[in-house]
Symmetry: none
Subunit: 224 residues, 4 copies
DNA sequence: TATGAATGAGCGTTCATTCAT
DNA sequence: CATGAATGAACGCTCATTCAT
């Protein structure tokens, strides 16, 4: 029998690759550094991957596959609470478990955040699907009479995803796991109830009417 | 004062470098392409910059310097409207001119967005100062009684900046200038008034009380 | 002004390449050896050639271009002697000058002889055109009543070219220029007059008749 | 006697090696392809050969050993026909069986033809012995009064071998076995009786006398 | 000062060879 | 003996940097 294949070799390499890609990016990562970190020879790398690029794709694909499980449109649930209060709690739990997953995979997030060029489309596609999912939810909420009808939902979904992405980045900057539930509860509050006090909100509503007209113009003429 | 035969050479090079870095990133950009685009020799490049990296830093530094002018804390204004309605209009105008600037400099934004590794800290630092500025404003609004007191402002400022960043990225994806004023008015609405209808908001406020306690615990014990 | 381009660099490299390709072949030749022999850096090689292959093609193409001038069909001459004796002398002079050229370029011949794989077709194409040219001459001689009509000219031209090629290889094995005129005069004798004495020739002619039938069969049935 | 689990392994490997070397040459052949084709492991290869080079030498040596049986000097026959006509027929049969062998081993011939560098000497040595054998035969024919005495036999033997080699190459270019007997009969005719008609031959003989003197000079002074 | 030819360290990839099983 | 995973030297090519002019 041959020297039995180290069954850990590939995953050791993938872990090493993940780490090096994370702090150097695709170009900056050197195959030799990956193999040294994995404790194998340079040749061993090519036993498992056809090229550095392929290893990179492997790392990304595997992660995005796991990520896409996070995206669940409203019609994928058959047990969605009808009571608003329960719905809110349900959403918070969902957010918490999502962020828990992201925290566990923070190394990958760093890679993806730093990934540019050819592979950037993978992140962009994911962010897009994230945003479309947010849009689906907002529409569903509108239909359920739970979301205002006077906002542009595509802008709103961009803000929503951007906000949560910022929260994710904030999380990445931490050494130890932050209080995710508290963060996410606050986020819920901001997006559901807004930041303004009653007084500001009234002023805003007052101001909106004339501005709404201007904004409507804007779409046709493109301001400035 | 050194008499340079071509005193414009350096800025020509910087402009060319900006363009190439934007297309290709730091690694992908070749010195030769930069110098060809600038119409000078390769040697000339090294008359002005010690290395490709230095040129890159120059490009980024110059841009971030211009960007930091966008960051104005509330106490930098002595003519801030006291009337809430006017304040809102004032903020919108400020946002529009900021985004106008970003649109004009979209090439740079693409560089920065794709920039990773050693130089990423420049973007991160800028985003941080952005977020701190947002925090200052939120505090100022709280003091003025215009912002709710029951939200964690550091989370709120992260969401705010994340949302506006998402809007920026959305803008970068467009071929022609989008209706910025309309976008920003919508953003104002979401952040000031939230997305929930009255019915959902009430459910939310009801649900908050018990959860608020849990969240408070969370900060000490770190949930899970 | 820049460091002026060494105008000899390319030809120095080509000469070095020619030499290395000659004793190692395309695969066996290492770019580094070529550049060392040329006394330049490895990078300089790529200033002049896009790849090792391209340099190889350059070397071969240049030579085959010069070689194709050696191939002259009978109708390319307007001053061909009609007197057989003069024609023979004319042909010998032509052969001598051809072999003189080949001797001068013996290094190239060694490359070409050792060249295999993708580029072999260049040699094969040249040998083919050589053989077709020989065929044209034999036909022309037949029309002039100077060549026997009872031989298969395509076989004869193969033997002719093969014989002269063997002479060429023999020449390549020599350290100093061999007596080419004597060699070629002998070759003329062999191909024109044959090797047999009168006695053998008669036996041969006698033997040919029955065998000729057999050979004719052979073409249909394919012997054995 | 070592009990090999697979005593055929070595010859299986040699056959596989022969095939791969024929397709790809020494450099182009990969050990892995050879072992895959032989259906054994890469390690097994090194159980039988010290290196790829050695396997190559083995393949060549084995073939040249079989080839050398083709080279039979006149004094190796004790039953050589004394009648010229029979001798000619005998020689033709010998040629046919030789070419039959070469046709059967055309794969090997392709290897050898494409072989260059270090191993080329094996082919060259074989061609040399071929030529020496031809020389022996020509001398024997001269002694028997069957070959002209006024040609340089070393040149003649080179032409003879070159001609037959060209015929061999022509055969290699065919998909199916060509009519070898007819080809070889033609070759016999060309080398024994020459190509010239009586008229040209007479002119040639006339022209030879003065030139013969020149050629004799040539050997001493080296023309030009 | 400005040029661009020249340099050479460095990297991705290949593959003959080794060796633990 | 046999296996094939593991090794690492070697090579083609790139490109940031230098320097003779």
């Amino acid at each position: 029998m041959s020297r039995s294949a180290d069954p850990l070799a590939k995953s050791t390499l993938l872990r090493a690759a993940e780490a090096v890609f994370a702090d150097k990016g695709l170009e900056g990562a050197k195959v030799e550094e990956i193999t040294q970190r994995a404790g194998v020879s340079k040749g061993a790398f090519y036993l498992h991957f056809a090229s550095k690029e392929e290893a990179f794709r492997h790392v990304l694909d595997a992660f995005f596959a796991r990520c896409s499980a996070l995206i669940t449109p409203p019609n994928a649930f058959d047990d969605l609470p009808t009571d608003p209060e329960e719905l809110i709690a349900f959403a918070l739990e969902h957010d918490v478990s999502t962020f828990e997953f992201l925290w566990q995979n923070r190394a990958m997030l760093r890679i993806i955040d730093g990934c540019q060029g050819t592979h950037r489309y993978l992140l962009d596609a994911f962010l897009d699907s994230t945003q479309n999912n947010a849009l689906d939810w907002l529409k569903w909420l509108q239909d359920a009479g739970l979301c205002r009808r006077d906002v542009d939902l595509s802008i709103a979904s961009a803000l929503l995803c951007g906000g949560y992405r910022a929260l994710t980045m904030r999380m990445l900057a931490q050494d130890k796991r932050p209080p995710l539930r508290a963060w996410l509860a606050d986020a819920q509050q901001v997006f559901l109830g807004g930041l303004a006090t009653e007084r500001l909100r009234e002023a805003f509503e007052a101001a909106r009417r004339p501005r709404a007209r201007r904004a409507a113009n804007d779409m046709q003429k493109v301001d400035r």
